[in-house]
Symmetry: D2
Subunit: 305 residues, 4 copies
Amino acid sequence: MFNGIITPMVTPLQSDNLSLDIANTNKLINHIISGGVHGLFILGTTGEATSLSYKTRIQLINEACNIVNNRIPVFVGISDTTIEESVHLAEIAKEAGAKAVVAAPPFYYGLGQIELYKYYCRLADQLPLPLFLYNMPSHTKINIEIDTVLKLAQHDNIIGLKDSSANIVYYQKLCYLLKNIDNFSLLVGPEEVTSQTVIMGGHGGVNGGSNMFPKLYVQLYKATLARDFERVHELQSLVMEVSTKIYNLGSFGSSYLKGMKAGLFTLNLIEHNIAPPFDCFDEKEMTAIATNIKALKSKIDSALS
Amino acid sequence: MFNGIITPMVTPLQSDNLSLDIANTNKLINHIISGGVHGLFILGTTGEATSLSYKTRIQLINEACNIVNNRIPVFVGISDTTIEESVHLAEIAKEAGAKAVVAAPPFYYGLGQIELYKYYCRLADQLPLPLFLYNMPSHTKINIEIDTVLKLAQHDNIIGLKDSSANIVYYQKLCYLLKNIDNFSLLVGPEEVTSQTVIMGGHGGVNGGSNMFPKLYVQLYKATLARDFERVHELQSLVMEVSTKIYNLGSFGSSYLKGMKAGLFTLNLIEHNIAPPFDCFDEKEMTAIATNIKALKSKIDSALS
Amino acid sequence: MFNGIITPMVTPLQSDNLSLDIANTNKLINHIISGGVHGLFILGTTGEATSLSYKTRIQLINEACNIVNNRIPVFVGISDTTIEESVHLAEIAKEAGAKAVVAAPPFYYGLGQIELYKYYCRLADQLPLPLFLYNMPSHTKINIEIDTVLKLAQHDNIIGLKDSSANIVYYQKLCYLLKNIDNFSLLVGPEEVTSQTVIMGGHGGVNGGSNMFPKLYVQLYKATLARDFERVHELQSLVMEVSTKIYNLGSFGSSYLKGMKAGLFTLNLIEHNIAPPFDCFDEKEMTAIATNIKALKSKIDSALS
Amino acid sequence: MFNGIITPMVTPLQSDNLSLDIANTNKLINHIISGGVHGLFILGTTGEATSLSYKTRIQLINEACNIVNNRIPVFVGISDTTIEESVHLAEIAKEAGAKAVVAAPPFYYGLGQIELYKYYCRLADQLPLPLFLYNMPSHTKINIEIDTVLKLAQHDNIIGLKDSSANIVYYQKLCYLLKNIDNFSLLVGPEEVTSQTVIMGGHGGVNGGSNMFPKLYVQLYKATLARDFERVHELQSLVMEVSTKIYNLGSFGSSYLKGMKAGLFTLNLIEHNIAPPFDCFDEKEMTAIATNIKALKSKIDSALS
């Protein structure tokens, strides 16, 4: 049963925007772990998994597991449209020492809920590691409906759900309906609401911002568990500042990813490279991010000291 | 500044499914007020406003304000595609003694955010009562984006937002960005999450279930304000039981409204009539609702006694 | 059985953007009829029906029928969220001498297909005039699915469908599946494709551009019936020029309506007023429209002479 | 410049639902070519490309090009979320003797039009074969807007567009706006409307049904070019019968693909296997397909004899 703050790691890339930057992968992972997070999730949406070649994905699995070296559990994204490729990635993850895999619904064809249920059963049956469902309707075009989650939660090899729908009624109903099911973790995607969902009965959050400021999200989680609402309020304000000042520039849905990579570059944790179909922010946006992140870092350091 | 639990009242109809049932309107309003709610919202989505003739809408405004007789504030829905009709309803509401009006975006044509902003300004300029914005993208096809809300919150005659999007990141950002703006109320639509949004800094909820069980929602709100999380947990479970056992039958999006009216009929508060384009639940669904509501009523009475 | 080109008339408004401009209504109707169109459709989407007060809608029905004076059939839009208001408008239309009414699905609540089917039956049962279904999913959020159309086509008082979905597979299937049903007219919404759909077996089109250039659309229709493809090609190019040079300015979905009203103003057929939630084009866009429309008028006059 | 009927080939699979069935690939390709089609498109949506492992995709490219042996041009789908994998597939296609490649927009992340434009330029720059754009918004979540197509049509290595949006106004505008651009082919996806779009100025269609009945679609295309509308009408009716009796069973969007594979199995052209996330039709649906396809085959044989 997984609880706490899990970092959906960005993938540090070289200047060809394709190849893994191993040195910075090492630096970033150690930075994240030093902040006390409870798990590392590689090859998720924040990790640009679907934009990376299989060769790079496999390399990242091996390098990351090696660097982490069992200090914290590693989760590996295997979302794909091809079941064979998902299973293959899971086998590599297993061998490298990862603890679980994470799969969004196949995202090319439109599916019905029954088709989705059967697909997940078939996938989970074949996987050598336990599976987290990953609800991401804005990207996959399908919501894993509540009844489907409830049925899949009965599968021995399905151990949780990461919900990135931002639909709070959906999440609240799942907390309520799954409360008597042991060994099923409910993790929330949007980092802005981890605290609230933990109060609801959720088990933690997958917080992109913890690539940059891992301690902030861990401390917010701990303050929430302790019901220290003054501290929650103080830290939540900083989380909202990250959200509104780093992720909201630019004109497209990609502003989150571009802002995150620009922020990590400013913090000297990665090079400023991003895989197609995206391009990095240009100079004007970069300047804004740099200004914002420096001010934020100083505030956050001061709040956490 | 409005806080607390506001009941979006269902509209009791006669057996022609068109005409106002005044006797039950009286009975229902007194039932709701006896539960201690902080406001009454007539002619909203739960009130089937857009399905009622203007004659019936006007009659309801007058009767409801008369029955309430200033015991609690009355809010009147004026959502329409025609600005003149919205203004006309607001004038009647003002004369009848209502405290504010509530308007969703015009819902036939697709609008851009700038068009929406101008529309709301033009509407608010003409209204004789303060205006609540009503974000309901599933019905209106448009989300009132955060930047638009922030700009509209500067208008003297716009005093709040009811958000029924169920998007928690949107709500959390609004709580954060509006926290220094006085006299702007943030109310949440889905009743399943009032407690969590109040912890975030929201000001209350528009809770359909308080037509049936007003005390339950009021007590949950009060327990939340008191940070009595044991009590919150106990009452939230009952709220979730209402949500999953009364609103989730039937095959369509209309299950919420049909379940609510069936529940109120079982509780002997209204006749079992609904306006086109809907029909009441049939006997099979009705039997399930009746069974569920009786069990629920007994649990809720016991928890609140 | 209706065939041919029907003009979805814009509503000429006074400078308050609310009141009917009767003088220009007279001028516009006579202009349209002089072009040889086969019917006049008032209070449709192009007619801003949902933005007009009921008083104005009723006034337009009476004035338009009076001006037309049975020279061509008049169709009246009764789309509404309230069945009583739809029926009331139909009664006025009947008395004024209109030949049929047109109703899109109720557009506030989301409906299931069975709910939609029942709604249309209930509506058609009550109407004093025959009914055209109006498929407009971009505005109503619901597609009238093929099976639903086939069932509704059995209703004695439902005589046709106007399809504005732009989905050609849908239209082609309807042409095929309805080909043996007498007395059911299939009319297409987007004016860019009337010719193609008539070749498919459709019965005509509801062509917004025929407010400006009625002869152009009528001649294209006649050339299509005559299978004079050289002429079709020549006239279709002009139709496409109207589409790309008049309807595509501005940033929003409203560019069609705004461009049409700006074009009609340039042609001296109406004043430049539009009902909320929209505003007229500003000067820059207006100048572009004026230039384009003058060049177009000269080309069209020359092609039709 | 490509014209005519192109078959988007289904991928014959072995009973593991994963591996290529080479014997039936050979049989199917020869069947298709014998019908006179003008091109073969492998690894498209109908070909389940995104459900197949890269190993299987590469095997199919090599086998298909070898079997076709330059009798007709082969087009290879390279749609992917990873640009490197797309380029790699294109290199294999080039070496195998394919004539062009086809790519839908990357389909995981949501993109803006500018991002999409840049992506296609970057892809086309790297490809060793000319590129067809593939508009498939229902699957990719993004429409390649008209302005984006016009800009991309300037790229030397982009030679056409396959449009599967079913939006006829979009297609009509493209025909009109691209009419003076040489060497750019406009092909339509839905087979129900190839004839109409060719009359509009389109260059042909990608017709799934030509896996089963290649001659039917070729003859319809030729009758359209000859403006033999009596023959067009006769053959179009048969095309519509395929569409409504083979592709419309079952409850999901997958009914097209499942119906096609069931039909081909009945015609003894492939085994009845389909890749996850789908399952084949069950016995009840299979029986219906078998009955329908036999009746259809007899009608089609008779019409073409």
